[in-house]
Symmetry: C2
Subunit: 131 residues, 2 copies
DNA sequence: TTTTGGCTTTACGTTTACGTAAACTTCCGC
DNA sequence: GCGGAAGTTTACGTAAACGTAAAGCCAAAA
């Protein structure tokens, strides 16, 4: 079964990032591993956070954005109505941004498909009509 | 009907970017407007290029990546088989990257939906059970 | 004619997200 | 008990993508 704690290099190799990056995320208040002496110990939830950070990055989220979401989420457990409404707003914003991204991807896929077939045509032409 | 040429501020306002950015893209060999005296004149194809640059940016493409695709595409008209094959490879790579992005978005949408309903629950709870 | 608005170049500054090197501790196997 | 691997902190360096003056050209309006 999957372990319940991880070393920094465990996570680094699993997600293919450098330990430097992981420490940097901690520096930016995105991760809060516990310590055993000086050594960082990462829990299951820590690991999930890292996964979310990286997913966010692949989608163009800045670390600051991701941190803001984490903070709102964390505060929401103890939060006032105001806090909850703010969180809700941010969630809607991100959802809307993802919708826009889906559109962008769809457009780009069409263009790449078109480019692909033009490219294919050119290759066939070259085969049948060598210079 | 839509004009066939554009000033730099036309494009800047249409796409909501600064003229500084547009000039920077030119500096990075992504755009090649003609000149009337010193003033830049953008054609329809130039405008399309800018749109592609910005779409790429929203999807996390670096300017260098986008430029490489542009260059391969431009060279493909006069290109050898080698060139065409390289272009084809790059197109496949981008398509694969977009597929990954679709997965990331799907995952994140699920998580945001879940967060949204938890948030909604917490808000209802607060309404029915005020502190 | 002057001044205003938009364009230009040049160049240094800034933010984000790390890379990289130095110098140090801790533990593990031999 | 010693070397090496893996961890740590501190701190300067870097690439990308612009921001932000500074200083000047040029055409239309006042």
């Amino acid at each position: 079964m999957s372990p319940s704690t991880y070393s920094i290099s465990d996570l680094a190799s699993e997600f293919d990032v450098t330990t430097r990056s992981i420490r940097f995320y901690e520096d930016q208040k995105l991760l809060f591993p516990t310590r055993k002496g000086q050594t960082r110990i990462y829990s299951g939830p820590d690991r999930v956070r890292l996964k979310l950070i990286l997913r966010g990055k692949r989608l163009g989220f800045s670390l600051a954005e991701t941190r803001e979401l984490f903070e709102l989420w964390d505060e929401s457990t103890t939060g006032s109505m105001k806090q909850l409404e703010l969180l809700m707003t941010k969630i809607q914003e991100k959802k809307a941004a993802l919708e826009q991204q889906l559109k962008d991807i769809a457009m780009l896929q069409l263009e790449l498909d078109s480019a692909e077939s033009r490219c294919q045509d050119a290759m066939n032409e070259l085969k049948n009509n060598p210079v």
